[in-house]
Symmetry: C2
Subunit: 354 residues, 2 copies
């Protein structure tokens, strides 16, 4: 090793789902929305005065923050925006998880949590989910340096009711509790309604799923003003201007179109429920997902092999090699047509391997 290499921070980076770009592929591997963004996005971007792109964007991303605050009926001072919810969550880890005690999160969950912990030198302890992949809330009542969990959880899609979430917050008044709600708009009830009651509760959401703008990179957090101010202070110590002009302008237009938002998430929910029936008919089992994906297994088939078969047929779903989840596929909910194609290829595979 060369001398100058010795001080390089060595990390095991997060590996994102592959991003193939083939004609006629069925891409059900990264939980994107199958429907295009609201047409208001195109209008908003076309209306930008690009001469102003010479200037730094608004430091406070005010019009975007205001649109989010209006939508959720909170104060603007309660909203933090970032470059996708990954940026927001990384900021959460850096800002709040700064204790000698370990933070707690489930062992089966968003795989970025241990990665952020490692890169920022944060101690963590994972808590096993039960045999049905459910979080065990009592596990989170021990002393800790902070708590984070997704609801619905990833990659299982399991949603816990608000009283479950509130129990965890109530039993952790000494910590910051973060609920990562990337998938909340597909049938769950947001913990946002608990925010006025708990100053230590932070809710994180994203535009990448239910708002169909993963390509714009917008995520946000809502919590008490004190939590949000602490996040802003840290953010302004790293990069003052994270939100660019198109994301501010476009994002504000996207969040303002509530009708479109409701329309597409309801379509996804309907397709998900149909897909559940179809999978059940074929003998698959899965936790009851309230997200825009289904985490399914089949006792009679080799799932790794099925995954490879699907991939060869240009049907991309997500699969992990980790021992505890290797028998599962995470299938993003696409359009009805995409799900039909997916099921056809599954049928082909089952037919050939029965």
């Amino acid at each position: 090793m060369r001398e100058w290499e010795k001080n390089i921070r060595r990390v095991v980076p997060y590996v994102a789902g592959e991003q193939p770009n083939k004609k006629n592929m069925v891409k059900l591997n990264t939980n994107e929305c199958p429907y295009p963004p609201t047409p208001k996005l195109e209008e908003a971007l076309a209306s930008m005065d690009l001469d102003r792109a010479r200037l730094y964007p608004d430091l406070d991303a005010k019009i975007l923050v205001k649109a989010i605050a209006d939508f959720y009926n909170v104060d603007e001072e309660q909203v933090f925006v970032g470059v996708g919810s990954d940026d927001v969550l990384a900021n959460v880890f850096l800002t709040f998880f700064n204790s000698d005690k370990p933070i707690l999160f489930p062992d089966i969950t968003y795989s970025f949590y241990p990665v952020w912990s490692d890169v920022y030198g944060i101690k963590y302890k994972t808590k096993p989910v039960d045999k049905d992949f459910r979080l065990v809330k009592e596990d989170y009542y021990e002393e800790n340096g902070g708590i984070i969990f997704p609801n619905p959880n990833a990659p299982t899609g399991i949603y816990e009711e608000l009283d479950f979430v509130e129990d965890i917050v109530k039993n952790n008044q000494k910590s910051v509790v973060v609920v990562d709600e990337a998938y909340i708009d597909f049938g769950g009830k947001s913990a946002l309604e608990l925010v006025p009651k708990y100053e230590n509760l932070l809710v994180v959401q994203t535009f990448s799923k239910s708002r169909s703008t993963a390509g714009l990179r917008i995520g946000f957090a809502i919590g008490s003003k004190d939590l949000i101010q602490a996040m802003k202070d840290v953010k302004f110590s790293i990069n003052s201007y994270t939100m660019n002009m198109p994301s501010i302008t476009g994002g504000a237009a996207v969040v303002a179109d509530k009708d479109y938002f409701d329309k597409i998430r309801n379509m996804i929910i309907e397709t998900r429920e149909n897909t559940k029936s179809e999978l059940t008919k074929r003998g698959f089992t899965f936790p009851n997902s309230m997200a825009n994906f289904i985490f399914a297994t089949h006792k009679d088939y080799d799932i790794t092999d099925m995954f490879k078969y699907l991939r060869e047929k240009d049907v991309y779903v997500r699969h992990w090699d980790a021992e505890n989840i290797k028998d599962y596929l995470r299938i993003t909910i696409g359009t009805d047509e995409e799900m039909k194609k997916f099921l056809e290829v599954v049928d082909e595979y089952m037919e050939a391997n029965k």
Copy 2:
């Protein structure tokens, strides 16, 4: 203090230049480009297929990386892109400055360096510039955990020739040496030509000044493949998708238009040289700036007072209260018309205070 607040990371955030937005103001305070971006930007953004905004953007920002690699005639594997050069530099600090020994940078320099050091817990030692604000290269020959300095330096605008830069790199083969070239396109010679010779040299640049797209948030680093890979590994541990679709598409179009780039930076250089003459005529003194700003003082006037007067007249320049630079104004080079307006208000002030 509430219990949950105890683990919050407390930082002294960087304070960016104010971003007023008044009609007829003259904004010479944040080193933005006074000319609009290339018209190719509008074309590129209009050509985006916004239906694809539902998808995550390209993880590797390939078309942008390729455009930069082509422009500078380096391999794509030698290019790292980020959300402005602040994002790139923050990543540099986290990736490379990970030693028990302090990193070194000048005491008068970009004020974000100590902020990043603090937020990431990096030890640093500042090296005083000399009485003419020049870096003393021998100061950087002692043992260290890394070196960073801007060339031209901020906020002085002083440019050091490449043999000076090379001496620092040559004497620091055990460290990563970072040259922050935010302002290199205004007359200096980039250290990029040293990159093939030194695997431990990283050059950082930005689209926010000479490429007139601060609003898109694009910065980049060029170095050996090993340096760039290490940065990517850390970046993928924080946020895989930092560059959004408009910044990738727009940025590629911006960097491809070399004629426009040359035209506007030459206009700025010409205006800067004229402004130097005008300031000299009025008794101002300043280091010989090779940047898009001038760092000027006047022995006969109270600079803080002059700053306030300019501000009242909606002419915004940058001023710091720090003892060692409080007698200086940092004046961004605007259009000829803006500089004329600036000088008129300066004349008014001098007339009223002689």
